[in-house]
């Protein structure tokens, strides 16, 4: 996907500006400022532009306030003019109705553009699909194309757009991998869709972002991006060495508990659909139909 043409120089300026605002120097911890894929980059750009444009109002306000309060304090011998009945100036009012309107208009254009852009696959590569189920208090991942499953661990090929199809077999949660891009809710009986892509191999932290009760703080997972060939080797090794996921094992997983990383060489073909339906998915489909993005437009 073509990225917005923002020069690296300007980006550095923006970046250091933000850091200045945050009063800090250690950058690698600031995952939101360190995007590792096109989706996160679009969002990062949006964060920067809203920040800069807001500062166009905030900084003058602070400056004017300090100046006015200092100059017009009520103290003996203050020679600054005092005009108790001056309460109107059409020119000034037009200026400060106009400036925020202009800024919101500019921001609005960028926001609408990026909001629509984020619903499309982030690149032209052939995409893959991973189904995600949030449980109490763990993350289940199904790979429908290779029929393997994982818990609290997800591996993806770098440079390939991945469509995550999200649902829950527990209270609502939110699937979030900050360095790869924004989050999307998982909801019982419903399916949500989120595009993510990693530019480069690496390990990215993922988390459950929406509160789900006692074990919520421990609902984290890792996203490991690998070159395509290594990813395929990993799939083969999981198929060869891991145990299969049976319905009984899944029913154990559903029970509230905190889990470690787990790998499964296969899972019952209908399992994912059953999970959606047992939470009321048929009512959801009745109203919303099958989602068109299965056809990968």
């Amino acid at each position: 996907m073509k990225k917005t043409g923002i020069s690296s120089r300007l980006k550095q300026v923006l970046f250091s500006f933000a850091l200045l605002f945050l009063l800090t120097g250690c950058s690698d911890r600031f995952v939101l400022l360190d995007p590792a894929g096109p989706v996160a980059r679009t969002e990062n750009w949006n964060i920067m532009i809203t920040f800069l444009l807001s500062m166009l109002v905030v900084i003058p306000v602070l400056a004017i306030m300090v100046y006015v309060v200092y100059r017009y304090r009520d103290r003996p011998g203050n020679k600054a003019p005092y005009t108790p009945n001056w309460d109107d100036s059409k020119i000034l009012e037009v200026i400060w109705w106009g400036i925020p309107i202009l800024i919101v208009a500019i921001l609005g254009v960028f926001t609408v553009r990026d909001t629509f852009a984020l619903t499309r696959p982030p690149s032209n590569q052939k995409p893959m699909t991973i189904q995600v189920v949030s449980l109490d208090w763990k993350w289940m991942f199904f790979y429908p194309e290779s029929n393997i499953a994982t818990v609290n661990y997800v591996e993806i090929p770098a440079g390939v757009p991945v469509q995550f199809v999200l649902t829950a077999d527990a209270p609502m949660n939110s699937f979030w991998v900050p360095q790869l891009g924004g989050q999307m809710y998982t909801m019982p009986g419903m399916e949500m869709y989120l595009w993510l892509q990693a530019d480069r191999p690496g390990v990215y932290d993922g988390k459950g972002a929406n509160f789900t009760g006692k074990g919520f703080a421990h609902m984290n997972f890792q996203v490991v991006a690998k070159p395509q060939a290594e990813f395929e080797l990993w799939v083969k090794s999981v198929k060869a060495s891991a145990p299969p996921l049976t319905k009984e094992k899944y029913n154990q997983l559903v029970k509230p508990s905190i889990a470690d990383k787990q790998l499964y060489s296969s899972y019952p073909a209908t399992l994912y659909r059953e999970i959606v339906d047992k939470n009321g998915g048929m009512y959801w489909r009745m109203h919303h139909g099958e989602h068109e993005s299965h056809e990968h437009h």
């Binding site: 809203t50 306000v61 005092y82 972002a209 509160f211």
Partner: protein, 647 residues
């Protein structure tokens, strides 16, 4: 029910057991003190049965400050737990209960009663009215709020607190995942106090529209009254959405319906929508009156007319309308299409326009004025940078693509505390300091107040600035613990220090009030700030009929104009002779009605339908009783008025 409560208390956290003991001891202490000083009769006649808007306002203020203490202690407990990675001060369950109650209390039992306090104290006086439109209803509203808050606060010692967040989204808040009585407490206490809020909204709209003094056209009305009008309009349209959401959630939990579970064709999204159709306008309900307070304070302490009055009115009204077109920004990440998200993103940003205009108008009210840095003015001044930054981060959150990253992170926490503390709390404290002499007849000590101001303000920035950074570091909200590898430890520790500084600031306010009750400078003039609006034309505290003679208004800053004319030697037109004044009688019915609602609510919390029915019958009996009362008012004779005015 009793078994359930005993069982709960036996297994509860030692912290909860200790607070249960403390609560019982405090209660016994209060009962003992009232008996010892023979104050029961006084409490009953002067306060509990009162329908005087000024006393009701004071009761709202006291309750709000007590609740601020409770919510503040919750905040300190949470910040203590998060001060270091892997802390073991609170367990997960207890932490979840604390943040759920912290949010609910601060929004519904602190911000709301504080604005109701300011409305009750100032609005009738500013518009030159004897009372609010429906004094009896006003008392009912207060007691519904009081008993709602009481029911909510009982939860942590009787059966268990709500633990699904202040938003209580299903299915987490459904019986399947939260089987205890906690969420029932939440549903019923909010429902009871919510009825009171709607009634207050109606009451003040009618008061402002129908009871202004002769000559006070809408465009001559003080900006605080305009802001209350805007806020009340939002109340009467927004609160019914909460009523419906809570009623349906309550039915799901108590009667086994499926409004909010997908399983039988319900939909949790419906709750999320209804909740935020109320929830986002709710923050404007809290902030709009603050805009009004600031306009009054900035104008008074700059000794200057408010700049751009018409713009101020227009922006208040605009905010009250736009507030209904922003609710989806609380769930951009729940799969709405890009068209929907774009609309709500731009609408959310648009709120920044009228807000920005207000800030510039305040700045230019001070420009070429004479600024006195009193306590109300200090709190108003500190509002401006705080709200400017909070507004900027609000714009950042409003942009949907940016929100996909910020949602549920500490960035959001920092943003809304900045607007709600830096906005609502700072502004309402400004209002409290401003009207304090009017309420009680003495000024609060400025030195102690400045200590409070600096501790609270520095503490505020130390507490919440690191939380923006934590958001950029990917820290999610509502986690009770985090591992050391995340690198969040340092900033969390700094944030905790800030929270404690704010706690010290609050204690200074308490000390300031206690000290000033005894030693505070008495206000003998009724106009300690050289005020501009009608409330300052009255003695402090104000006699219960407010105005012996209803004033006639010719100008916007009516009292200021009268004073200017007097200085120029123009005498006010000779007053007509005093006439007897008709005032409403005190009544114990509002108290008993609140109590009956409380009993009904308590019964429903534990599925005890007999108790609930008894309570509801009590409500009906109170209503019947009231409708059969023929003589609900009394006359104050001219002699009595003369006596009161002379003293």
């Amino acid at each position: 029910m009793i078994n359930q409560i005993v069982e709960y208390l036996r297994n509860a956290d030692p912290l909860i057991q200790m607070s249960a003991v403390a609560a019982v001891l405090t209660l016994l202490g209060i009962i003992f003190a009232l008996t010892y000083f023979k104050k029961w009769g006084w409490l009953w006649r002067e306060w509990i049965t009162t329908v005087d808007h000024k006393k009701i306002g004071i009761m709202y203020l006291i309750c709000a400050l007590l609740m601020l203490f409770r919510g503040g202690v919750d905040a300190l407990l949470m910040r203590t737990q998060l001060a270091f990675p892997n802390m073991n001060f609170l367990d997960s369950q207890h932490y979840n209960e604390i943040f759920s109650t912290h949010g609910t209390i601060m929004i519904l039992f602190v911000a709301m009663p504080l604005i109701f306090a300011m409305m009750n104290i100032a609005v009738p006086l500013q518009i030159g009215a004897r009372d609010v439109a429906f004094p009896f209803l006003n008392a009912v509203s207060f007691w519904l709020f009081f008993f709602g808050a009481l029911l909510f606060n009982l939860s942590f010692i009787l059966g268990g607190s709500p633990d699904a967040g202040w938003v209580s989204y299903p299915p987490l808040a459904e019986l399947s995942h939260s089987p205890g009585p906690g969420i029932n407490y939440y549903v019923l206490s909010l429902q009871i106090s919510g009825i009171g809020s709607i009634a207050t909204g109606i009451n003040f709209i009618v008061t402002i529209l129908k009871m202004r003094a002769p000559g006070m056209t809408l465009m001559k009305m003080p900006l605080f009254c305009w802001s209350v009008l805007a806020s009340c309009i939002v109340i009467i349209f927004a609160f019914p959405a909460l009523t419906v959401a809570l009623a349906l959630l309550g039915m799901d939990r108590i009667f086994g319906t499926h409004f909010f579970t997908m399983l039988h064709g319900g939909n949790p999204m419906m709750y999320v929508n209804l909740f935020w159709v109320w929830g986002h306008p709710e923050v404007y309900i809290a902030i709009l009156p603050v805009y009004g307070i600031l306009s009054e304070v900035v104008s008074t302490f700059s000794r200057k007319r408010i700049f751009g009055y018409k713009s101020m009115v227009a922006s208040l009204m605009l905010i009250s309308v736009i507030s209904y077109f922003v609710w989806v920004h609380h769930f951009f990440t729940m799969g709405a299409g890009p068209g929907v998200n774009s609309f709500f993103a731009v609408a959310s940003m648009a709120v920044g326009i009228p807000t920005g205009v207000k800030v510039f108008n305040w700045l230019f009210t001070m420009f070429r004025g004479r600024i006195r840095l009193t306590l109300p003015m200090l709190w108003s001044l500190t509002f401006i940078p705080c709200f400017a930054v909070g507004g900027a981060t609000g714009i950042m959150l409003a942009s949907a693509p940016a929100d996909y990253q910020f949602h549920n992170s500490y960035f959001v926490i920092a943003h809304f505390h900045q607007t709600l503390i830096g906005g609502a709390v700072f502004g309402l404290l400004a209002g409290m300091y401003y009207w304090w002499p009017k309420m009680f007849g003495f000024k609060l000590n400025e030195t102690l107040g400045k200590w409070a101001f600096w501790f609270f303000n520095i503490g505020f920035y130390v507490c919440f600035m690191p939380q923006y950074a934590l958001g950029f570091m990917g820290m999610t909200r509502r986690v009770y613990t985090y591992p050391a590898e995340t690198g969040w430890g340092t900033l969390n520790f700094v944030s905790t220090i800030g929270a404690y500084l704010m706690g010290i600031g609050f204690l200074f306010i308490v000390v300031q009030i206690l000290y000033s009750i005894r030693y505070g400078e008495r206000d003998t003039t009724g106009d300690p700030w050289d005020g501009r609006t009608l409330e300052w034309s009255l003695p402090s505290p104000v006699p219960h009929y407010n105005f012996a003679q209803i004033p006639t208004v010719n100008e916007r800053d009516a009292w200021w104009e009268m004073k200017q004319q007097r200085k120029e030697g123009i005498l006010p037109p000779t007053k007509e002779p005093l006439k007897p004044i008709h005032m409403p009688n005190n009544s114990s019915l509002p108290f008993f009605m609140g109590l009956a609602f409380f009993v009904a609510g308590f019964g429903l919390v534990f599925n005890q339908f007999i108790i609930a029915t008894v309570g509801l019958i009590g409500v009906v009996v109170c209503m019947l009783w009231r409708s059969l009362e023929k003589d609900t008012g009394h006359w104050i004779s001219v002699d009595e008025i003369k006596q009161m005015e002379a003293s």
